[in-house]
């Protein structure tokens, strides 16, 4: 029980526009610490929707979501933002780096928002994270000076800055070529084995999924295999 960092109980989700459609139907599962989990399924099966609910960004659902022993229901927007900041690292399909800031500053932003460490410490930690990802030399560049693969690695560094409980990825390799996908996968693998980082990655790349610890397969809003 104590190892469960994230638990979903009977999560249901409906889309109401234009007609009411049930996208998630009684989804229940849990993730333990240091697990590397992938979620696969056909496009439209609700896996991304599930991920956004798990990340606390989508609050319009039924069922219970428990992160780190805390029930997410009825929490205020500001509290949820704090949980996202401290406990969840997010990597998207698109890198979403802020072009106005340097790479280092991009990585630092969630850390500065957290406010647990001083600015110098956050900077030091950001450089550490960039080192793990092998891009410590790019820190002073602007995001638009980097290649696609490098940008995605910066995004992963940003997800790591606050030592989150779990990293969630929404098709993090979807926009990358074979070689860069492999690099990103190796990074995830290393994070899971060396740093005991929990990961929950949504993907439609079956080859990627088979190499993770555990696969959750979804179809039509249900988990069919896990």
């Amino acid at each position: 029980m104590s190892n469960k960092i994230l638990e979903a109980k009977n999560i249901c989700k409906y889309f109401h526009d234009p007609t009411t459609v049930q996208v998630l139907n009684n989804v229940s599962f849990s993730i333990d610490k240091a697990e590397f989990v992938s979620v696969i399924g056909k496009s439209g099966c609700g896996k991304s929707t599930l991920l956004y609910i798990l990340s606390t960004m989508d609050t319009d659902y039924q069922g219970d979501l428990i992160i780190d022993g805390q029930l997410m229901r009825n929490k205020k927007e500001a509290d949820l933002a704090k949980i996202r900041n401290e406990k969840i690292g997010f990597v998207f399909q698109f890198h979403y780096l802020l072009n106005e800031f340097s790479v280092l500053r991009n990585v630092m932003l969630p850390g500065l928002k957290f406010g647990k460490y001083s600015e110098q410490e956050v900077e030091h930690r950001a450089i550490e994270k960039l080192k793990i990802l092998g891009i410590e030399n790019e820190g002073l560049k602007m995001p638009n000076q980097l290649s696609g693969g490098q940008k995605q690695r910066v995004a992963i560094a940003r997800a790591l800055i606050n030592d989150p409980l779990i990293i969630m990825g929404d098709e993090p390799t979807g926009n990358l070529d074979k070689k860069n996908s492999e690099i990103v996968f190796q990074i995830f693998k290393e994070l899971a084995t060396v740093y005991h980082q929990s990961l929950l990655i949504v993907t439609h790349d079956n080859e990627f999924a088979t190499r993770t610890n555990r696969i959750i397969e979804m179809e039509d809003g249900r988990i069919i295999k896990m």
Partner: protein
Amino acid sequence: MKIKLIASVSISLLLARWKQTLVAAIGVTFSITMFITLLSFMSGLNDMLDGLILNRTPHVRLYNEIKPNKNQPIDQTEKYKQYYNFISSIKPKNDRAEIYNNSAIMQSLKKDNRVLGFAPKIVAQVFYNVGPIDLTGAINGIDVDEENRLFYLSTYVTSGNFIDLKNIPNSIILGKGAAEKMMANIGDVIQVTTTKGERVPLKVVGYFQSGIAEIDKVQSYATIKTTQKLLGESTSYITDIQVKLKDVLQAPAVAKEYQELYQVEAVDVQTANSQFETGSSIRTLISYSVGVTLLIVAGFGIYNILNMMIYEKMDSIAILKATGFSGKDVNAVFISIALSIGIFGGILGLIFGFGLSSIIDQIPFNTASLPTVKTYPINYNPKFYIIGGIFSIVTTYMAGYFPSRKASKIDPVIIIRGK
């Protein structure tokens, strides 16, 4: 820490669109500059025009009106006391225009602490003799020192020295118009005839120019003593007491009180010159509304720019929210962008406004009716700067409020899924 972070995000967003930001700030600067200049100029002009009349007008004037006696004999008879009597064609009796017991009144005015000061005055009707022709005129007998202290005599004595009036016996300061008609130069002796037919020579020691040509053609000044001599009256003869109060707004109440207390006519400045106040307040109203309109237009500019910035930065806002920035933080970022445009533009506007009004202050403005005014009048009242400053912040805050709220409500899921 948090403030610093929000500030650094705001600054980065600002600098990313620095040209637009600059345009917005220039809008604020321009409107504040115009606001300050307009109000300073308008208010300077108001003060000047008010000063033209109001500075020289006593707040309360005590005098004796020549009118029929209110207590007619029929009202005092036993038989008709209870009746309402209509009497036609009553004439005033041969009354003197003098204020009775004026030295006692002046003694008690001295003790009244609402009173800033008072100056006794005699108004004497005379004729100025120019060869065979007599021109009607009026000589104001004044206490030179008090008149200057309270009603700024020296500012409208344009040639000659006003103090000579006191030092040279039997002297007169002529209105510029009257002097021109008589072709009297300073140092000349003119003849005046009193209403009683006496001819008196007076020495011209100066000209005065009030700004109102009709007055300058008729009036002139002499000392109280000279005027009393002219009229053949005793040294206690005084027709007017001009009172200046510490607070001009009290004038109507004080006038009423004095009328009862001293049994004389008392008229306050508000009643005597009501049209000036109306003019001033309407001019002020117009300048404020123009200034505020300018600011609101600048506010719309800021609103537009922030709205555009939010559409452009939708992704950035979404990712900030995804990584743990709350709606409040995002709101603070955009509000601080709006406020920094407002504060920066506002401060520049205040500086430029001061500069522009100083320049206007240097532009020569010569008009025959206003001898003391050499340049355009400007009022550097700090009140305008405070109002301008507050207004620039308030309008930019309002302009930033709605876009910021919109930004804070952005749902990151919708943006991120849309890709």
